[in-house]
């Protein structure tokens, strides 16, 4: 199958700090990849490079056939095809849920308002909160806000969805409603790259698990391999720490 995301010998520095070291990763269409690792390992930085919220310093990134460079036009093309869900939701607080969902389709895809609203309602129904369409984000619970954020990204009909620790800011009782929506999305065949500490989700949904530490991809394996017998010592230590309780 065609690779929709290709990272080749990608390096990223913050000043002199070497945040990502020779990262190589190819993700094919329809694949679900979970990225895990200790904090500061570069997981978020890596997926933020995929839609150029961070600039890489060397190597190549090709997403949906476009190589990411300084070329603003190509960056915009890539961003249209790549949806992103953030840890802190980042819904526009001054817009209603419906306005949040229709903004990019109207401005970027030049869609008529009625059509954009119809699509928005379709995705709000899919994330199971069509009745909240006219509320403001602050009136929703964290779990509801994150589901709106997922719907907002889906309204652009992206090829790939990136999730940057989507459940880390949520109260425990709201985590499953978000993971349920993400699991549905995976079942429907969406290509997903997901940074998460939710190992249950990783085990049931991921095709591959990418384990990172200190800016490097340490191992890439199937969930079965990864949880039963991680190849690297660092992954064993990490799993020991997060599965201890």
């Amino acid at each position: 199958m065609a690779d929709i995301i290709v990272l080749e010998k990608m390096n990223k520095f913050y000043g002199t700090y070497h945040a990502l070291k020779d990262v190589n990763l190819s993700i094919s269409k329809g694949e679900k990849v979970v990225v895990c690792g200790p904090s500061g390992s570069g997981k978020s930085t890596m997926i933020r490079c995929i839609n150029r919220l961070e600039e890489h310093n060397s190597g190549r990134i090709v997403v949906a056939g476009e190589e990411l460079t300084d070329d603003e036009k190509k960056i915009d093309l890539v961003r249209r095809e790549v949806g992103m869900v953030f840890q802190s939701f980042n819904l526009f607080p001054h817009m209603t849920v419906l306005e949040n969902l229709t903004l990019a389709p109207r401005l970027v895809r030049k869609m008529a308002t009625a059509e954009a609203e119809a699509i928005a309602m379709k995705y709000l129904t899919r994330v199971r909160i069509p009745d909240q369409a006219h509320k403001y984000p602050s009136q929703l619970s964290g779990g509801q806000q994150q589901r709106v954020a997922i719907a907002r990204a889906l309204c652009m009909n992206p090829e790939v969805m990136l999730f940057d620790e989507p459940t880390s800011a949520l109260d425990p009782e709201m985590i499953s409603e978000v993971l349920d929506v993400m699991t549905d999305l995976a079942r429907e065949g969406m290509t997903m790259v997901c940074v998460t500490h939710e190992m249950g989700f990783a085990r049931s949904v991921a095709d591959r698990i990418v384990f990172m530490d200190q800016g490097e991809i340490v191992e890439v394996s199937t969930p079965a391999e990864f949880f039963a017998a991680p190849r690297s010592e660092r992954a064993r230590t990490f799993l020991g720490q997060i599965l201890a309780h």
Partner: protein, 230 residues
Amino acid sequence: MSFDLSLIASSLPKILQGLGLTLNLLVVSTLFGLVLAVGILLMRLSRRSWLVWPAKAYIYFFRGTPLLVQLFIIYHGLPQFGFIRQSVLWPILREPYWCSVIALSLNTAAYVSEILRGGVLGVDKGFVEAGKALGLSKFQRTTRITAPLAVRLALPAYSNEIVSMLKSTALASTVTLMEMTGVARTIVADTFAPYEIFIAATIIYLVLVWIIQTGFTLIETYANRHVRKT
């Protein structure tokens, strides 16, 4: 010393004859100042240093010198130069009204651009990133996300600036304008009763400030309707 309550009452309508000019100076200077402030803000936030430093110098100068001195430089100082008196600007610069508007506008623009900058810097980077991730252009992100949120954050400080501007219009009386303070000073010269007359002026200023404050409270409530919980 005697205190004449009836003098306060009788001077109120006279001082109110200056109300129109006071409000005129306030509104016109505030509007000019706001337009100028946005321009200075864009320069100040630019990545190009040749745009940034003139904006910084402007802000430093107009915040760093008294408004009264700025007004005197424009009204008394500029006409010293023959080329100013010969220039096309002379019909404007010889009018105390326009000199006052220019001084007030230039001065408030420095403060307002900094107030707005505070708002822009206060906008959570995450919202801008969400806009980027959705493919919005820089212009779209600025007009749809950053600007509306920055304005909301800047409103309390901006209302403060408008109140401050109202009081600054009194300085126009020093260049012969008959706004409220100018009228009050004239009445004092006739009656030798500064206490009563300036108390009357104070009452009017306080009422105006109350109206401005209340207006801004309503605007803030409306602009922040999205943060109210139901």
